[in-house]
Amino acid sequence: MTRLNSNQILGLIIALLAVGYLAMAFQIPDFPLPRPIDSDLFPKVLGFTLFGLAVMLFLEKPKDRDIPDEIGPEERAKPLLLRPWSRVVITSLAIVAYALLLVPVGFVLTSLALSFGLAWYFGYRRHGVNLATSLGVVLLLYLAMTRGMDVYLPQGILPF
């Protein structure tokens, strides 16, 4: 069996999504009063269109620029935590932790931890500058938003 190319794999995934989307579109309840166009028509049109486009994508030959480059041996030789995809995964996890801690701990502390911690993780080693910049920017944004614009940001465990 021949191996599927990137467009064919993407086409199959998108077709599956389109089928799921259509299944949900057919479950949208009717409006009690008769109307020429109900809430379900537009989603159905979109679902079928996406399915058609997925088929077209399946049949389209991928160009070089549509295939992600291989990661070089230099990057692969790095410790696991510093490899390119690890950087994306760890940053994503840091964002999830930030979202969950933002309200209980407060904007200033969580943002400072995220900014300082990630800059350090990404390879910045001047810790004093890192701390001063992160703290300065976070405090400036916090004060501008809460004092200047009256936009609420969680204060958390800090008294201000």
Binding site: S6, L10, I14, Y21, M24, F31, R35, P36, I37, D38, S39, F42, P43, L46, T49, L50, L53, A54, L57, E60, K63, R65, D66, I67, P68, E75, P84, R87, V88, T91, S92, I95, V96, Y98, A99, L100, L102, V103, F107, S111, L114, S115, L118, A119, W120, F122, G123, Y124, R126, V129, N130, S134, V138, L141, A144, M145, M149, V151, Y152, L153
Partner: protein, 499 residues
């Protein structure tokens, strides 16, 4: 001559020392607020309403017009420097502005944005003055069928302008519309694609998607490509000066986009976003070096910047002449006017000529102030790019977080932001353009609403879209714009086989 006399009368009001001070304060405050993540012209104007309570209506409106212009320009700054468009109108600015900044031409990019905004704003003010009453009447003749056709045209224009696969562009556009219709259907109250969670009842906010697929995806992409630990090259700002050939190069796009932007801005609902995308796609089509658009072409930056400012002026036409706000921003302005005791509408020119002409004259002055104020500030603003890359990446993340949380106060939206960041990364890796997704997200709702209203009027008869001449013409242009790349391809292939 009447218009000239009226304008002189307007200048008499706008040039009063207090009013000049208001324009200055307005432009300055607007620029600062516009640069802040998530705060666009609407928030900037809303913040100014309490300040204008006690003012003379003409002074109040002059202040607000300054804030409006300033906020639009401020938004362009974060688009160019960080690829983080805070408002929809500056998304297209990032397409070529950000690549320019990455090439070390941030100073030039910001200077072009300032000049283009200034010229776009100034030319469209002339139009506003001369043709406002006539255009007001045309704008009201646009019914739902025409709007639907206009939205379809806007979308196809963006899909075809991308140099990536047409099918992938269309997929991105369809997904964008799908995201836009999530939440409660406002016409029937039916829930669609909320997955049983109350967080999605209001749908997904534009800012979450825009910051996700542009700014966050960019951070992820840099991390993936090993950009995290590398130092930023020096001389990241570059010169602010434009050479004579560069001025010549952008003169055409700026002129054309001024006119296009103004007319699109006049149509209620279309506004700065559609204008900037249309301006960009028009120039890409016309340009001989269209394939360099998206890679730091100065025409690709000048066109949307001009068009969005011109559209802002254009959006004053329905507001001042008809009393009908065409966008969220002008709706806030209308509210402010009503609070000040001025009712815009056909009688405003006769009853309050001081307000009408005062505002128009202050737009000229506001545009000059914008240039005078922002050009000297550019080297300072562009210093952001001199920061070490790891520090910059982590601060961009904070910028995105505060932008999203500060507008929705929802932790759920922060997680959605992450989801869209990863989606944006995937799209980038597999060659899906992000622009159609964003524009479809903005237009999707209006498109569905217009379509349903048109069919409501026609009793379900689809021929309403081709019976109306304007709608038919717009749809034909849309179909042609989709077919054009195919025709081009066939001709090229035929030539190659012959050669």
């Amino acid at each position: 001559m009447d218009a000239f006399n009226n304008l002189m009368y307007g200048f008499g009001i706008a040039l009063e020392p207090t009013n000049i001070a208001y324009v200055f304060i307005g432009v300055f405050a607007g620029t600062i607020i516009g640069m802040l993540p998530g705060l666009g012209p609407i928030s900037a104007l809303a913040l100014m309403i309490p300040v204008t309570f006690a003012m003379e209506p003409s002074s109040g409106l002059i202040l607000m017009a300054g804030v409006y212009y300033g906020a639009i320009f401020g938004g362009s700054t974060s688009s160019i420097l960080l690829n983080a468009p805070g408002v929809a109108g500056t998304v297209a600015t990032a397409f070529d502005g950000y690549p320019m900044a990455r090439k070390g031409l941030a100073g030039k990019a910001l200077a072009i944005a300032a000049y283009a905004s200034f010229i776009g704003g100034t030319i469209s003010v002339v139009f506003l003055m001369l043709v406002a009453p006539v255009l007001g009447r045309v704008a009201v003749s646009f019914g739902p069928a025409e709007y639907f056709a206009l939205m379809v045209l806007g979308l196809t224009a963006v899909v075809t302008l991308s140099d990536k696969s047409l099918v992938k562009g269309l997929i991105a556009a369809v997904v964008g519309v799908m995201i836009s219709i999530m939440g409660i259907d406002l016409q029937t109250g039916t829930e669609r694609y909320t997955f049983g969670t109350t967080h999605l009842l209001d749908g997904i906010d534009f800012l979450v998607v825009a910051l996700g697929v542009f700014a966050l995806a960019e951070v992820f992409y840099m991390l993936l490509r090993g950009g995290g630990g590398k130092e930023q090259p020096r001389n990241a700002i570059g010169s602010l000066r434009l050479s004579r050939s560069e001025i010549k190069e952008i003169a055409g796009p700026v002129g054309r986009s001024s006119v296009l932007g103004f007319f699109v801005g006049v149509l209620p609902g279309a506004g700065a976003t559609v204008a900037s995308f249309l301006g960009y796609s028009m120039e890409k089509r016309i340009a001989k070096d269209g394939d360099t658009f998206g890679k730091g072409n100065i025409k690709g930056l000048a066109a949307p910047e001009t068009a969005n400012n011109a559209a802002c002026t254009g959006s004053f036409v329905p507001l001042l002449i008809l009393g009908v706000p065409g966008s969220g921003t002008t709706a806030v302005l209308l509210g402010a006017l009503l609070v000040m005791g001025v009712s815009p509408g056909p009688m405003m020119l006769e009853q309050r000529p001081d307000v009408f002409w005062g505002v128009i004259a202050s737009m000229y002055i506001g545009n000059i102030m914008l240039l005078v104020l922002n050009l000297p500030l550019i080297p300072l603003i562009a210093k952001i790019l001199d920061m070490p890359r790891p520090l910059l990446l982590s601060l961009i993340l904070i910028f995105c977080m505060i932008g999203v949380y500060g507008t929705s106060f929802s932790v759920f939206d922060l997680l959605l932001l992450l989801g869209f960041g990863l989606l944006g990364l995937g799209m980038r890796l597999f060659g899906f353009p992000a622009a159609p997704l964003i524009l479809a997200l903005i237009l999707g709702n209006i498109m569905e609403e217009s379509m349903r209203r048109a069919l409501q009027i026609s009793g379900g008869d689809w021929s309403i879209f081709i019976d109306k001449p304007i709608s038919l013409a717009l749809l034909i242009i849309a179909v042609l714009s989709l077919c054009l790349p195919l025709v081009k391809k066939v001709i090229l292939q035929a030539r190659q086989t012959r050669g």
